[in-house]
């Protein structure tokens, strides 16, 4: 075995040396500024691989924060009678005590729901997912030394960090963090007297998110420029791995949609600070009429969801790209329908801009306008179904290696189908009359973009961990993590569909005044217990992650998965610049698995005589 590995390595080096592109990179001496000391290596790093790790670990921090918040409000929903005194040391005054029984303060419940949504959507599933894997994989898989601008890339991370720091600080305000829902609809977000969290909490929330948008834009500009300008010799667009296609389109979505969010926030800030009336009209607070006249809160919703809907694809597309790559590698088969996969990404991205009002069917939008949005929303099912079909066809007849990475990819497909189907219900404005703002919606989006995106992220972490840390994660713990999370996540979110169909509204602190919902008390208990179990399994994942960084099984060959893409042609521990010598040239598409009797054919191996490339036509 060892000898085979050795020959493989030298073969890779020979191929790079023979066909590669010499950019004289290592003759420049500017590498020093990248990895010369502790600070430039680990903190203010400009190396894309280190920035990827920074995004990942910061994202994990926020994942734990968001998950713990959900546990607290699940305690309230599942066990409203139980004393929460044991949380008093952490939550302090937000646990109110009467007769020795601690109760979660209702305003803090809303704050928890709000911040849970905000940090999971933006910090974990946007920055933690596409920030991590776009950074790690774009330069490695397109064959570049680094991003087009390492400096802007570093700034992208640090703006994200700053956004996180501000959000974190807002948790400790005496009036509490913002509590008006992650969508920050006015008037709750526009009037500081509207609720406790609407004052300083909302101010910090907005500032935090503006910095976050700066981070996304700096990152996105870099990703797009790198993909379009720094591809290695032979790497045509039709030879790009699907991961890169997904990250590329995701970055474009971010660049086009996040600025609109900023314009909404800017108008909101004017309403808050300069007494304008963009979103406010004829409002009474505490019996007093405010001076704001002539604004429209619906206008904010339009602007918000013009970002908000593309945002869900910003979350799910990178997961889709990762899953496509991981499934193909571990099924030892070419991805089924490569071009269809690319076109469906493009179609989803395009459609994502013309469906935003399906979030607003019940906010008084003209029903005839709703029709338009219903139709385009339902059309998204077509490219989504194409992708699902192709993933399943990729698995069909494959020589599948069931490991944590591939299991999470398969789990992603399962979640995406389950959650996607309920999207067809909610996309109908007529059915939405019954379903809107119920637990049916909560179940839908948690499965389709929450759990599914997390599964994509886990698949990516397990698959590329050897590239990040030159070690493997523990496989047994990985499988326990997978099976527990798959069953547990369904146990948490599946029952919510029934609650929602019965009309149980989301975001309510307590249902004790609704006799007709009281028979759901046991389901709520069940969901809470399942949520605690799922959380424990994520702790297991985190232990596995950090333990494996230092003690995991060492990677002994460059290409442990037998994959075709360029990141596996770099040394096991790649330094700055990724390849020690020349940059490899690309000769073929990324999915030659099981071709001509060979298990896999790396992208750097030239086409043999008369062989046709399956990417380019």
């Amino acid at each position: 075995m060892a000898t085979i590995t050795t020959t493989k390595i030298s073969e890779t080096d020979l191929l790079i040396e023979e066909y590669g592109y010499d950019d004289h990179f290592h003759e420049h001496h500017d590498e020093d500024k990248f990895q010369s000391g502790f600070i430039t290596t680990y903190i203010f790093s400009q190396d894309h691989k280190m920035i990827a790790k920074q995004f990942l670990i910061t994202g994990m921090f926020w994942g734990v924060m968001g998950a713990m918040m959900s546990l607290v409000f699940r305690m309230q929903l599942g066990f409203p009678e139980e004393s929460l005194m044991w949380l008093k040391p952490i939550l302090g005054k937000w646990i109110t005590v009467a007769d020795g029984v601690g109760t979660l303060a209702p305003e803090f419940y809303y704050a928890l729901v709000t911040i849970h949504g905000t940090v999971i959507v933006f910090f974990v599933l946007t920055a933690g997912l596409s920030g991590t894997f776009s950074n790690l994989l774009i330069p490695l898989q397109v064959g570049a030394r680094d991003m087009a601008s390492p400096l802007l890339n570093m700034l992208s991370y640090w703006f994200f960090f700053l956004a996180g720091a501000i959000m974190f600080a807002s948790l400790f305000l005496s009036t509490g963090p913002f509590s008006g829902g992650w969508t920050a609809y006015p008037p709750l977000s526009a009037l500081s007297q509207a609720s406790a969290g609407s004052g300083a909490g909302m101010t910090m929330w907005t500032v935090s998110l503006v910095f976050f948008v700066v981070s996304v834009l700096l990152g996105g500009i870099n990703y797009v420029t790198t993909v379009l300008n720094l591809r290695t010799k032979g790497m045509t667009m039709w030879r790009l791995p699907l991961t890169i296609w997904a990250f590329f389109i995701t970055a474009i979505l971010g660049i086009l949609s996040f600025p609109v969010l900023v314009s909404a926030f800017f108008l909101l800030m004017c309403d808050r600070a300069l007494q304008t009336s963009f979103f406010l009209s004829e409002i009474f607070v505490g019996g007093q009429a405010l001076e704001h006249v002539g604004g429209s809160p619906i206008l904010y919703q339009h602007l918000f969801w013009f970002l908000g809907h593309p945002e869900v694809y910003i979350i799910i597309l990178p997961a889709m790209g990762i899953v496509s790559e991981v499934l193909s590698v571990h099924a030892r088969k070419p991805i089924f329908g490569y071009r269809a996969m690319v076109y469906s990404i493009l179609a989803i991205a395009f459609l994502s801009f013309i469906v935003w009002a399906h979030h607003m069917f019940m906010s008084g939008v003209n029903p005839f306008i709703s029709n338009f949005f219903v139709i385009f929303t339902l059309i998204i099912a077509v490219p989504s179904a194409v992708k699902v079909f192709n993933w399943i066809a990729t698995l069909y007849g494959g020589n599948i290696r069931f490991n944590a990475a591939s299991l999470f990819s398969i789990g992603f497909v399962s979640m995406f189908i389950s959650g996607g189907l309920t999207g067809i219900f909610l996309g109908n404005s007529a059915i939405d009359i019954q379903m809107h703002d119920t637990y049916f919606v909560v179940a839908h989006f948690h499965i389709v973009m929450g759990v599914a995106a997390f599964f994509g992220m886990f698949a990516g972490v397990y698959h590329w961990f050897p590239k990040m840390y030159a070690r493997f994660m523990n496989e047994t713990l990985g499988r326990i993590h997978f099976w527990g999370t798959l069953i547990g996540a369904y146990a948490v979110f599946w029952p919510m569909h029934y609650l929602g169909m019965a009309g149980v509204p989301r975001r309510y602190y307590s249902f004790d005044t609704f006799e007709n919902f009281s028979h759901f008390a046991n389901i709520n208990k069940f969901i809470t217990i399942a949520a605690v179990v799922v959380f424990a399994l994520q702790v297991l994942f985190i232990i596995n992650f950090f333990y494996s960084i230092f003690k995991g099984k060492k990677v002994t060959s460059r290409n442990p998965w037998g994959a075709n893409t360029l990141e596996w042609t770099t040394p096991i521990e790649a330094g700055h610049g990724n390849w020690p010598g020349k940059i490899p040239a690309v000769q073929r598409w990324a999915y030659d698995y099981g071709k001509d009797g060979k298990d896999f054919i790396s992208q750097i191996i030239p086409l043999s005589d008369g062989e046709k490339d399956n990417g380019d036509h």
Binding site: R145, L151, G220, K233, I255, S277
Partner: protein, 196 residues
């Protein structure tokens, strides 16, 4: 624009029709455009809802449209003369361009004064608030351009009189951004006229 921000050359690909930095600048411009698309579509939607104050835009807005076009022209010729190695003309045109750019911001401020004199305030009917916000955010982007122009001025007067591809490229980026904010103002003024 500091050139070390970006990798100097497209190191890996053989056929680059456009410099990666310039490409990145265009993407950044696209995202700025999207922000103004947000503002202007909000304007359209809100105006269609009624209760909308109609008023005349300050005349200075139109003079300023002319001014910013002229600024773009001056800066363009500054770039051309630099490329030709005519340093006296290049420097003087750059100074004139920068002063005209500064003038634009000052005159926009005067335009806001004119609006308040006509009883249109930031608060009150959103029709007025929108004009302040749109022109204000635009002015902020012009200020960003002025910062870039200041950097260009420092380069012009502190570096020796040499024409290098690097310096042409830097100046090109700055001037391109100026063309962009100029075009943006033309679009905005056209939009505001069309909608009043």
């Amino acid at each position: 624009m500091n050139a070390t921000i970006f990798n100097r050359e497209p190191k890996t690909q053989t056929k680059n029709r456009i410099h990666p930095q310039k490409f990145a600048l265009w993407i950044a411009c696209a995202s700025i455009v999207m922000m103004f698309v947000g503002f202007t579509s909000a304007f359209v939607v809100r105006r269609a809802a009624g209760n909308w104050l109609e008023f005349d835009l300050p005349n200075l807005f139109f003079w300023n449209a002319g001014l910013i076009v002229l600024t773009s022209l001056v800066l363009h010729f500054s770039k051309v003369t630099f490329r030709n190695g005519d340093f006296t003309k290049y420097k003087s045109l750059l100074v004139i361009g920068a002063l005209m750019g500064l003038g634009f911001v000052v005159l926009q401020y005067e335009a806001w004064i004119e609006m308040t004199n006509n009883g249109i305030f930031m608060t009150g009917n959103p029709a007025g608030s929108f004009v302040y916000v749109i022109s204000g955010v635009h002015a902020a982007h012009v200020l960003g351009g002025l910062v870039a122009l200041t950097a260009a001025l420092i380069h012009a007067f502190s570096l020796k009189n040499f024409v290098t591809p690097q310096r042409i490229h830097r100046l090109d980026l700055t001037v391109t951004y100026w063309h962009f904010v100029g075009l943006l103002w033309l679009y905005l003024i056209f939009f505001l006229v069309l909608n009043s």
